[in-house]
Symmetry: none
Subunit: 172 residues, 4 copies
DNA sequence: GATGAATGAGAATTCATTCAT
DNA sequence: AATGAATGAATTCTCATTCAT
């Protein structure tokens, strides 16, 4: 990937995640990336292709994170690691996650490839722990996660993350 | 409000909530509402005005719901009622809530007028219960709520709401 | 003519003369006249009909002015009276004249019915005075008149009318 | 400036000057210029921007003309040169001048940047000639000019320009 | 006579995308 | 690879006009 390709991806991610895919003209992406308008189409075929590329990168990053978690032997600790993902995100990863969360709400672009691998780990871990209804329990945990993630991604530094994390640990 | 105005609002809500504000052309709204496109602008000034009208109605509906909850005397029960809002939504209210949740992710349209009154009730109730850090605790509860709401609104009938609710009651 | 008809005509004249016929929506005329939008069309058939009505009134006012001037016996004095028309306009007549002058520049609406009767008086008077080329001389005088009229109508109180008039009298 | 930009400017000038700015749709300009409608907006931002570009070019042409006149040493001759500007216009410059004169009558677009430099030259020249009230005298001369210009631009070949010019020279 | 809701044609403007260079 | 001029299809919005009441 050339420097300009990366620049396009970064600008697009930034803009898509703050304004929404449909609200961002490709011309603005090009401008912010410091490239010509045509270049986006040479590299990514069309606007949707640009989104796909970003989403693909996102999936890989998540897969990597999940991979690490899978290696934890204790299922209890594995589950906890999953739940604490939202708290472990670096600020520079926020745009990607914000984009992923915002796309959920749009029929057209929605895609559960993001949550599926996470849920799998949870179900497996819960089964190891002999939970009766692992699937429903996994949904519950994923709900908590989504709630925390939303709070953190949207309120940013306004919310007291440590307090939230502390409460979460006590409750769970 | 004339019949056609209502029809426009309903179609717009339906479409905005499933595809996203920016992805819906006014021509489609008009078509679905069975009115001329010009009528949208006569009644709501512009597309944003149409969104505002929907959002305003939403705020009023929420205010009403909150009002009822405020009348619960036992603070513990009041908090529980708040947390269980996502579970008590009628299916025909889903579009409004989906729209509200999706707008959160768009800088341009985001507006915390929805969550503020809810948080207020929580903070007041927690104070009555002499919680040490009512504000952070309220944020925590709101996180749970958001998580459940997202799950219910997005997965709809796929997820086992009773199971979730049961789990929630046990945990909290 | 009802009060509302007059109100429509006045608002339309005011608006057409300051912004130009094509730049004024009928809705604005209705609003400013304090009547419903539909009423304009009931009374004047269409927007063009409204302009025609104003223009017709204008022609009548001018015809009246010319009539008075025709009654002057001395051809020299008659010519002078013509030339001084721009200086004798009441401020409340400015909008009508501004409209007439602005329409001149639009092919579509241009119409020399305004200047023709004036030129006729001039040519007749010049013939009485045995001018060699009365037609060309009339054009010259009309040019002066147009120049003064433009200056007065556009600069309004900014320009020193007495000074202009004095100069005109001396020169001619 | 590309060929197409020039073509747009020429078509727009032609159309604006004959029908008036507000009476000309951009689609017509594009058609006449042989370009896509979108191109107008790419190059000139919006319809007003197109007008501005034309007006700007006009100002530069006038500035050039004035510059030449400024170089005349004899103030008497300088004034005469100014007065005779309307007579010295080439037919292909008529559209520009017609546009300028028609815009005068529209509040929204009116702009005295056209007349100001001309008046300045006049005032300076009259001061050199020790005129008592140079400013009022300049207004007078500008009135003459405007009158002749209107006549020439609107009547075109119908009017006998030589005769007018001859009369003007004799009178002044 | 008067209202104002409603229409539909068209106007300005945007924007993804193509293409010659 | 990269540019930026150009396109054309949509999109938002305007406005003269009609019509039921």
């Amino acid at each position: 990937m050339t420097e300009k390709q990366i620049s396009i991806l970064e600008s697009a991610l930034e803009l898509f995640s703050s304004k929404g895919f449909d609200a961002v003209p490709t011309s603005l992406i090009a401008k912010q990336a410091g490239v010509s308008e045509g270049l986006i189409f040479r590299h990514f075929k069309n606007k949707q292709g640009l989104l796909n590329a970003i989403v693909q990168m996102g999936k890989e990053k998540i897969a990597f994170k999940i991979q690490l978690i899978t290696e934890i032997v204790d299922p209890q600790k594995r589950i906890q690691a999953i739940m604490e993902i939202p708290f472990s995100l670096e600020t520079d990863q926020y745009p990607l996650w914000r984009l992923i969360y915002s796309l959920k709400w749009q029929q057209e672009y929605s895609d559960d490839e993001f949550s599926r691998p996470i849920k799998e780990v949870l179900v497996n871990s819960l089964n190891e722990l002999k939970y009766f209804d692992a699937d429903a329990e996994a949904d519950l945990i994923m709900s908590y996660m989504d709630g925390f993630a939303s709070t953190i991604l949207l309120k940013g530094e306004v919310v007291n993350k440590d307090k939230l994390l502390h409460a979460l640990r006590k409750k769970y």
